[in-house]
C-alpha cells in the first residue's frame, strides 16, 4: 500500500499544485505537505519492511499480449525500503527549502509541481519490478529535469543548459531503450523476475546478454552524467539551487545506480558490460574529482563532485563480484543523497547571502553564522569520507567491495580499486579547499550578515544530523555489505590525511586551487572543452545532415514526383496539339498511365 501511495501521492500533489497555482499557500500545502507525509509514510514502510523477504506489490493490472507479458509490478525489500525513505525524506526537505528559496518567483507553483512529479518518477524507478515502469520513471525524470533546469527560462544560459541536459541524456537513452527492449524480448516479459530468471539461466545467449546490458549501461552513463556524457551536469547548475539539489542528491543521476542494482544478477554475468561501466566510471571518478578541485565556482565544484561520487557508486557495482553483491554501491547512493543535499542547500543559502556562487565572492561567507559553518563542515567531512560520517561509512564499504572485486578473477576490480584510492586523496583535497574558501577571513572586510530563516535552519539541521548519524542505516541489516577490515580503514584514513594536508598547506597562502593548480583553472572552468566537442562532433554534423536531408527531400526525392507531373503535362500538351480538343487534365494522363500499368500487369499475370 505504502509503495503505491508513494508514487500516486506526489503525482496528485503536482496536479493539485497546478490547479492551485495562483494561490501560493495552497501550492505550499500541496507540495511541501505531501512531501512530509510521504517522508513519514516511507519511514513507516521502511521500519515495517526491515528483516522481511522481498515481496511483490501489484499495481494497476498488467497486460498479457501474445508475445509479451507486462505484469507492471512494484517490489519492496528492506534495502529498497531504506532507499525509498532517503529519497522521500530528502525530497521533502528540498521541497521545504524551495518554498523559501523561490518565495518570490512568479512560477513557483510550476516548479514545485515539477519537483513533485520528479520525485514520483524517481520513487517509481526505485520500487519498479518491471522494465516498462523503470523506463517510464526514467523518461519522466529526463523531461522534468528539462523543466527544472530551464526554470528561469528568461535567461539564455538556463535555456541552453536545459536543452543540453535533455538532449545528452536522451541521446544516451537510445541505448537504454534498446537494451531494455532486448532484455524484455529475450524473456518474453518485462517483469524484473522473469527477465532475471531468463538472463541468468544457463541457456541465455551470452552475446545477446552482453549486448543488451552494455546498451543499458550506455543509458545509465548518460543519465548519471558519466564520461563521455558527463558535461550536461555542471551546466545544469543554471537551474535554481533546489533543482540542483534534487537532481544531484536523491534522483536522476542516482537512478542509474538503482537500475543496475536491480539488474545486478544478470549484469554480473555480462563481462563486457561490467568493463564498459568500470572503465567509464574510473575515468569519470578521478577526472571529475580533479576538475572539481580547480573550479572557480563553488556550485560547479559540487556538480563535478557529484559526477565523481556517482562514478564511485557505479564503479562499485561494476567491480564487486557476485558473492558480495551490489549493496555497497546502493548504500553509497543514499549516503551521497544525504550529504550532497546538505552541501547544495548550505552553498545555496550562502550564495543568496553574498549574491554569487563564485569562489572569490563566497570567500569567508560562512564566518557570519555558525549553523552554515557546522553544516558545511559535516557535509564536506562526509564527502571526503571521514570515518563515522555517513560518507565515510559508505566509502569504506565501496573500497571493501572493490577490493573483493580486485581479488576475484573477473570484472574490472583492479582498475576500479586503484582509481578509487586515488580519488579518495583528491576528494579530501577539494573538500578541504571548499571549506577553507568559505570559512577563512576575507581580506576585503567583514562578511555580509543576514538572519537565517527558521525554515532554512531546520532544513540544514535535519540534514546535518542525518549526515552525521546516517551510517547507522548500515546496521539495520537491510543491506548485504562486505565485511570491513581495519587495514582498509587505516589506508583510507591515511589517504584522506594526505589529501587534507596538501590542501591545507596550500590554503595557508590563499585559495588552494590557485596555489596548486592556478594555470589549470581556466581549463577546468570550461570543463576541458567537452562542450565544444559535443557541438563539433555531434550537434553540428547532425544539423548538417538535417540541412542535407531537407535539401534532398525537396530537390531530389520530390523531383521525381514533379518529373512525373511534368511528363504528364507534356503528354497532355502534345495531345492538345494533335487533337484540337479540350486540354486534358494532368490527372487524365496519369490515370492513363495507371491503366497502362493495369494492362501490363494483367497481361503478365494471365498469360
Amino acid at each position: 500500500m505504502i509503495a503505491r501511495l508513494l508514487i500516486v501521492l506526489p503525482v496528485l500533489a503536482a496536479a493539485a499544485a497546478m490547479a492551485l497555482r495562483r494561490n501560493d499557500i495552497g501550492v505550499r500545502a500541496a507540495c511541501v505537505g505531501t512531501g512530509l507525509v510521504m517522508a513519514v509514510l516511507a519511514f513507516v514502510g521502511m521500519v515495517a519492511g526491515l528483516g522481511r523477504a522481498p515481496e511483490v506489490v501489484s499495481t494497476i493490472s498488467g497486460v498479457t499480449l501474445p508475445d509479451l507479458r507486462m505484469p507492471w509490478l512494484l517490489w519492496t525489500s528492506p534495502a529498497i525500503g531504506v532507499v525509498t525513505f532517503v529519497v522521500a525524506g530528502v525530497a521533502a526537505v528540498i521541497q521545504a527549502y524551495a518554498a523559501w528559496y523561490l518565495a518570490t518567483d512568479d512560477r513557483y507553483a510550476t516548479f514545485a509541481a515539477t519537483m513533485s512529479l520528479f520525485t514520483a518518477a524517481m520513487l517509481l524507478v526505485v520500487q519498479s519490478a518491471d522494465l516498462t515502469l523503470t523506463l517510464i520513471g526514467w523518461e519522466v525524470m529526463g523531461w522534468c529535469s528539462f523543466l527544472l533546469i530551464g526554470h528561469w527560462s528568461r535567461t539564455e544560459v538556463a535555456r541552453r543548459a536545459a536543452a543540453k541536459a535533455l538532449l545528452v541524456t536522451r541521446a544516451a537513452d537510445v541505448g537504454f531503450v534498446l537494451g531494455l527492449v532486448g532484455l524484455a524480448v529475450g524473456a518474453r516479459s518485462t517483469g524484473l523476475a522473469d527477465v532475471l530468471a531468463y538472463w541468468t539461466s544457463p541457456e541465455a545467449p551470452v552475446n545477446a546478454r552482453a549486448l543488451a546490458l552494455s546498451l543499458v549501461v550506455v543509458g545509465v552513463l548518460g543519465k548519471s552524467a558519466q564520461f563521455p556524457f558527463h558535461d550536461w551536469l555542471p551546466d545544469a547548475m543554471a537551474g535554481p539551487t533546489p533543482a540542483s539539489a534534487l537532481i544531484h542528491a536523491a534522483t536522476m543521476v542516482a537512478a542509474g545506480t538503482v537500475v543496475l542494482w536491480a539488474l545486478y544478477p544478470a549484469f554480473v554475468l555480462a563481462e563486457p558490460a561490467r568493463w564498459l561501466l568500470g572503465v567509464s566510471a574510473s575515468i569519470t571518478m578521478l577526472g571529475a574529482a580533479l576538475l572539481a578541485f580547480a573550479q572557480s565556482d563553488l556550485k560547479r565544484l559540487l556538480a563535478y563532485s557529484t559526477v565523481s561520487q556517482v562514478a564511485l557508486m557505479l564503479g562499485a557495482i561494476a567491480a564487486v563480484p557476485a558473492q558480495v553483491g551490489p549493496d555497497a554501491g546502493l548504500f553509497h547512493l543514499l549516503s551521497h543523497a544525504l550529504f550532497k543535499a546538505l552541501l547544495f542547500l548550505v552553498i545555496g543559502w550562502l550564495a543568496v547571502v553574498v549574491g554569487s556562487t563564485a569562489a572569490s565572492a563566497m570567500r569567508g561567507s560562512a564566518r557570519a553564522d555558525w549553523v552554515s559553518r557546522v553544516a558545511l563542515f559535516v557535509g564536506l567531512a562526509a564527502l571526503a569520507g571521514v570515518p563515522l560520517f555517513v560518507g565515510g561509512v559508505s566509502k569504506e564499504l565501496v573500497v571493501e567491495g572493490a577490493f573483493e572485486g580486485a581479488v576475484s578473477p573477473s570484472g574490472p576490480g583492479v582498475v576500479v580499486l586503484v582509481v578509487i584510492l586515488l580519488t579518495v586523496v583528491v576528494t579530501a583535497a577539494y573538500s578541504t579547499r571548499a571549506f577553507i574558501v568559505v570559512t577563512t577571513h576575507r581580506p576585503g572586510g567583514a562578511p555580509t550578515r543576514r538572519t537565517m530563516p527558521w525554515s532554512v535552519a531546520t532544513v540544514l539541521a535535519v540534514l546535518t544530523v542525518a549526515t552525521t548519524l546516517g551510517g547507522v542505516l548500515a546496521l539495520t541489516g537491510a543491506f548485504v555489505l562486505p565485511s570491513s577490515s581495519w587495514v582498509w580503514l587505516a589506508i583510507s584514513v591515511l589517504l584522506i590525511t594526505v589529501g587534507v594536508s596538501v590542501a591545507w598547506r596550500a590554503g595557508l597562502r590563499g585559495d588552494p586551487a590557485e596555489e596548486l593548480a592556478g594555470r589549470f583553472i581556466p581549463y577546468a572552468d570550461r570543463g576541458l572543452g567537452v562542450d565544444r566537442l559535443y557541438t563539433d562532433l555531434v550537434a553540428r554534423p547532425v544539423l548538417a545532415a538535417a540541412a542535407v536531408a531537407r535539401f534532398l527531400d525537396t530537390e531530389v526525392i520530390d523531383a521525381y514526383v514533379r518529373a512525373t507531373a511534368f511528363t504528364a503535362r507534356l503528354t497532355g500538351t502534345g495531345v492538345v496539339r494533335a487533337h484540337r480538343g479540350e486540354r486534358p487534365a494532368v490527372g487524365t494522363a496519369l490515370v492513363a498511365l495507371g491503366v497502362l500499368v493495369v494492362g501490363i500487369v494483367g497481361v503478365m499475370t494471365w498469360s
Binding site: S61, V63, L65, P66, D67, L68, T132, L135, I136, E139, V140, W143, F146, G150, S153, R154, T155, E156, R159, A163, L166, L167, R170, A171, D173, V174, V177, L178, V181, G182, A184, V185, V542, L543, A545, A546, A547, A549, R550, D553, T554, I557, D558, V561, A565, A568, V586, G587, L590, V591, L593, G594, V595, V597, V598, V601, G602, M604, T605
Partner: protein, 492 residues
C-alpha cells in the same frame, strides 16, 4: 441497418451542405453538420455495441457485396474518425477558413468523414477501395479551395499533387485488390489468406504495399504530405493526419499483412527498413524546417515510419503497436495542427524565423497545451505516443518467423535513433516559440497576447484528455486489438 444509417447520415447531410451550404449561413450550417457528426457517432456506437453486420448483395453479376462489419482492428479507427469529425466541425466556431462558404466547407468535411468510416467498416475489398477513393475528392476540394490563401500557386500545386499522387497509389492498390480477388475467388476481406510466396503472390503484395505506402506515407513516397498538410486549412490538416493517413495504416494491416502473410514476409524487410529510415529522415528534416506547420507534417512522416516498421514485423504485437501508434498519432497530430492553425491565425504565418513573444510569457495556457502535444509527439511516457513506439521496438526486435531478424533489429536501432531526434526537434521548437526572454524590454515584435479559450480550448482539451488517457490507461486499446480479427463475417 444502424451502421448503414451512420454512414449515410453524414454523406447525405454533407452532400446537401455542399450544394445548398452557401444559402444556409455559417452558424446554421455548423449546427446541421454538428448534428450529423454527433448523430453518426451515436448510431455507430449503437451499431458497434450491438455487433451489427451488414451484408447485402450489391452487384450480383460481379459478386460484389455491400458488407459492413467491425472487429478489434477497425473499431479504434472508427472511433477516432468519429471523434475527429465532431471536433473538426466544432472547431469551425473558432475559425472558418476563407475560400468559400462555411456550409460548403463543412459539407466536404462530412463527406471525408463518411467515406473514411465506410472504408474502416468495409467488409469487402472493392467497397474499401471505393470508399478510399471517394475520400480523395472532398479532401482535394478542401485543400484546393479552402487552403492557405497566401499563395495561390502553392495551393493549386499542393491540391493537385495530393490528388494525383494518391490516385496513382490507389490505382496500384486497385490492381493489387483485383488480382487478390481473382486469386481468392472473392472480394470479401474475411476469406482464407493467400498462401505461399510464389511470384504472383509477391506481385500482389508488392502492388498493395506500394499503393498503401504512398497513402501512409512511407519514405521515400512521402513528399505529397508536407505540401498538402501545410496548405490545407486547419480542419483539413487534422482530417489528413487523423483520418487519411490512418486509411493507409489500416489498409496495410487489412490487405497485405492479413490477406497474404507469407508473400508479405518477402518484402516486409524493405518496408521495415523504409520505416526506420523514415523516422530518422522525418526527424532530420524537422531539425532544419523553418515553417512550424511543415515541421509538424514532417514529424508525421517520422511517426508513420514507426507504423510501417510495426506493420512489417507481421507479428500480432506488431499489428497492435501499429494500431496504437496510429491512434496516438491521430490524436497528437490533430492537437498539434489545431494549435499551429491557431498560432498561424494569431501570427499571420507559421514561420519559425520570425522572432516572437515567447508563448510561455504571453499565452501560458496555449503554451502549456503546445508543450503537452510536442512531448507526446516525442514519445514521453504517460502520454499516448509512448506505447506505440515502445511496442514497435519490441516487435521489431522479435519479428514474425520467416523474416531476417538482423534487418529488423537494424531498423529498430535506426528508429530508436530517430526517436532521439524527435527530442531534438521538440526542444528546438520549444526554444523558438515557447521559451524566451521576459516580455518587458522587447520592442519591435508583434505582440500577440490572445490566449486559448472558448471553442478552441474545448476542442484541444478533449484531445489532451484523449492523449493522457491513452498514455496512462493503455488497457482498452491493447485489449481491443489483442484478439485476432473475427472469423469470416462475410460469406465468401
Amino acid at each position: 441497418m444502424v451502421l448503414s444509417a451512420a454512414l449515410a447520415l453524414p454523406a447525405m447531410v454533407g452532400a446537401l451542405l455542399v450544394v445548398f451550404g452557401s444559402a444556409l449561413g455559417a452558424r446554421p450550417s455548423r449546427w446541421v453538420a454538428g448534428a450529423a457528426a454527433v448523430g453518426s457517432a451515436g448510431l455507430l456506437w449503437a451499431g458497434l455495441v450491438r455487433g451489427e453486420v451488414v451484408d447485402v448483395l450489391w452487384v450480383p453479376d460481379l459478386g460484389l457485396r455491400f458488407a459492413l462489419r467491425a472487429d478489434g482492428y477497425s473499431v479504434p479507427f472508427v472511433l477516432l474518425t468519429s471523434l475527429v469529425l465532431i471536433l473538426v466541425v466544432a472547431h469551425t466556431a473558432y475559425e472558418v477558413p476563407s475560400g468559400g462558404s462555411a456550409g460548403g466547407y463543412l459539407g466536404c468535411v462530412l463527406l471525408v468523414g463518411s467515406g473514411a468510416l465506410t472504408a474502416f467498416l468495409a467488409g469487402d475489398m472493392v467497397l474499401f477501395f471505393l470508399a478510399f477513393e471517394v475520400v480523395l475528392i472532398p479532401m482535394w476540394v478542401l485543400i484546393g479551395r479552402w487552403g492557405d490563401p497566401h499563395d495561390l500557386a502553392a495551393r493549386r500545386d499542393a491540391a493537385s499533387r495530393f490528388l494525383l499522387y494518391t490516385a496513382v497509389g490507389s490505382t496500384l492498390m486497385l490492381v493489387g485488390i483485383l488480382l487478390l480477388a481473382h486469386r481468392r475467388g472473392s472480394t470479401g476481406f474475411a476469406v482464407d489468406a493467400v498462401q505461399g510466396t510464389g511470384p504472383r503472390a509477391v506481385l500482389i503484395v508488392l502492388l498493395l504495399v506500394l499503393g498503401l505506402a504512398i497513402k501512409l506515407p512511407v519514405f521515400p513516397l512521402h513528399t505529397w504530405l508536407p505540401a498538402a498538410h501545410t496548405i490545407a486549412p486547419t480542419g483539413g490538416s487534422v482530417l489528413l493526419a487523423a483520418v487519411l493517413l490512418k486509411l493507409g495504416s489500416y489498409g496495410l494491416i487489412r490487405l497485405p499483412v492479413l490477406s497474404a502473410p507469407e508473400a508479405f514476409a518477402v518484402i516486409a524487410p524493405w518496408l521495415g527498413l523504409a520505416g526506420g529510415v523514415g523516422v530518422v529522415w522525418g526527424g532530420l528534416v524537422c531539425l532544419a524546417e523553418s515553417d512550424l506547420k511543415r515541421l509538424i507534417a514532417y514529424s508525421s512522416v517520422a511517426h508513420m515510419g514507426f507504423v510501417a516498421l510495426a506493420v512489417s514485423t507481421g507479428s500480432q504485437l506488431g499489428i497492435q503497436a501499429a494500431i496504437y501508434s496510429s491512434i496516438a498519432h491521430g490524436l497528437i497530430a490533430s492537437l498539434l495542427f489545431i494549435l499551429v492553425g491557431g498560432l498561424k491565425h494569431r501570427w499571420g504565418s507559421a514561420s519559425l524565423t520570425v522572432a516572437r513573444e515567447p508563448l510561455r510569457e504571453v499565452s501560458p495556457r496555449l503554451g502549456a497545451i503546445l508543450v503537452l502535444g510536442l512531448t507526446a509527439s516525442m514519445g514521453l511516457p504517460g502520454l499516448a505516443g509512448f506505447w506505440g513506439e515502445l511496442l514497435t521496438l519490441v516487435a521489431a526486435w522479435s519479428p514474425a518467423p520467416g523474416r531476417p531478424r538482423s534487418v529488423f533489429v537494424a531498423s529498430a536501432i535506426i528508429a530508436a535513433v530517430g526517436a532521439a531526434l524527435a527530442a531534438a526537434y521538440v526542444v528546438r521548437v520549444l526554444r523558438l516559440v515557447w521559451l524566451g526572454d521576459a516580455v518587458a524590454g522587447q520592442r519591435g515584435r508583434p505582440i500577440v497576447r490572445v490566449d486559448i479559450r472558448g471553442v478552441e480550448w474545448a476542442v484541444t482539451a478533449v484531445l489532451v484528455a484523449g492523449i493522457v488517457w491513452l498514455g496512462v490507461y493503455p488497457y482498452v486499446l491493447l485489449d481491443l486489438t489483442v484478439v485476432a480479427p473475427a472469423g469470416p463475417a462475410v460469406a465468401p
